[in-house]
């Protein structure tokens, strides 16, 4: 009757709290390399490498100790988390998913754990002319026509090892980041700003290909793991969960076990899902 899940497995999930979360009680959480301390509607963001701080209070971001002198990457990391928190105050919620826009102008979200193939399949779709909303994140909002996915534009990066399937990547070999365990290279794509969501696919790498519909409850349980800041105990948490609920109740949701064969036909797989 009840299945238990633990949110701590996902790379983008918030860590364990260290104290109670009643209103105006300090709550500690973590997002990547950024520690967060939320008290009521105010948050303090602390970079764990440089100890630089960024603060969010009354809807405004302000620089804290160490921010001005921190390296650019640190400031970017803090600003990114600050922006996600600020969006949350405006009922827009960041989600760890790729977003692509089908020829009919509606968005498909590709989600799953880190390494499940989001970037690879996003690039496969981008090569076939599907605009990209985000490679590793989108921002969800519920408006009068349903759930909208807004772009969260990071560089689209794919592994150079995919050159076997995408020969044009060989032109980028000199730009490979060899420090990166996945040996990724930035590639070009057309980005869109927003699109109404048509469906969601939970990806899992496999040696075979199989697309199966999943229930709303299973889809929401999957999304909870990928929803950045869902567990921050402020007064936006229930609205955040409600948007995810509205998403899985309003669009078809699938799991896709995918082999490299999908690199050549992922567009047909997605378009065929609702046929």
């Amino acid at each position: 009757m009840m299945s238990t899940h633990d949110s701590s497995g996902g790379a983008r999930n918030i860590g364990a709290p260290v104290c109670a979360s009643a209103p105006h009680v300090e709550t500690h959480w973590r997002c990547g390399l950024v520690d967060g301390v939320t008290t009521g509607s105010s948050s303090k963001l602390i970079d764990t490498e440089c100890r630089a701080e960024l603060r969010l209070a009354k809807g405004r971001l302000s620089r804290g100790p160490g921010y001005e002198t921190a390296p650019r990457l640190t400031r970017q990391r803090l600003a990114r988390v600050g922006a996600m928190l600020k969006l949350r105050e405006h009922a827009r919620y960041h989600m760890h998913a790729a977003g692509v826009v089908a020829p009919d102008g509606r968005a498909w979200l590709l989600t799953g754990e880190t390494g499940c193939g989001k970037s690879t399949l996003t690039y496969a779709l981008a090569r076939r002319g599907w605009p990209v909303l985000g490679e590793d994140g989108v921002v969800l909002q519920h408006d009068s026509i349903g759930v909208i996915a807004h772009g969260w534009h990071d560089l689209l990066r794919v592994s150079i090892e995919l050159a076997e399937w995408f020969p044009e990547l060989r032109d980028h070999e000199s730009q490979v980041d060899w420090q990166d365990t996945r040996h990724r290279v930035a590639v070009g794509a057309t980005f869109n700003k927003r699109a109404p969501v048509a469906g969601m696919v939970v990806l899992q790498r496999d040696s075979r290909d199989a697309l199966s519909p999943i229930t709303s409850t299973a889809a929401l349980a999957t999304l909870v793991r990928q929803a950045t800041f869902l567990f921050v105990p402020d007064n936006h948490a229930q609205s955040h969960l409600s948007v995810l609920r509205d998403l899985v109740e309003s669009v078809p949701c699938f799991t896709l076990h995918h082999s490299p064969a999908q690199l050549a036909c992922i567009d047909a797989t997605i378009l065929g899902a609702c046929a």
């Binding site: 009757m1 009840m2 299945s3 238990t4 899940h5 633990d6 949110s7 701590s8 999930n13 918030i14 860590g15 364990a16 709290p17 109670a20 979360s21 009643a22 229930t215 709303s216 409850t217 299973a218 929401l220 349980a221 909870v224 869902l230 567990f231 921050v232 105990p233 948490a237 229930q238 969960l241 409600s242 995810l244 609920r245 899985v248 109740e249």
Partner: protein, 89 residues
Amino acid sequence: MTRYRIVPDALSASLSDGAVLLNLYTKRYFSLNDTGSRIWSLLEHQASEEEIIETLVREYDVEKPEAARAVNRLLDDLVAERLIEPASV
């Protein structure tokens, strides 16, 4: 007649085929099937354990002893996960 209250750290989303519960304090989340979701909605309306059992017997094809066991088991799980607590009389 035991009654329970839902703790402030618990969030819920009711769906067509079940429900998902979150505990903001423990950072754990839970999925409920259709029956579990019905029980949760009765808890939201402050129904007692006995009232929940009677409702299930009325709405589902289930005998009272079996319904009582299922309800008791779920309530125990929900208490253990700090999603509900016995309401003070």
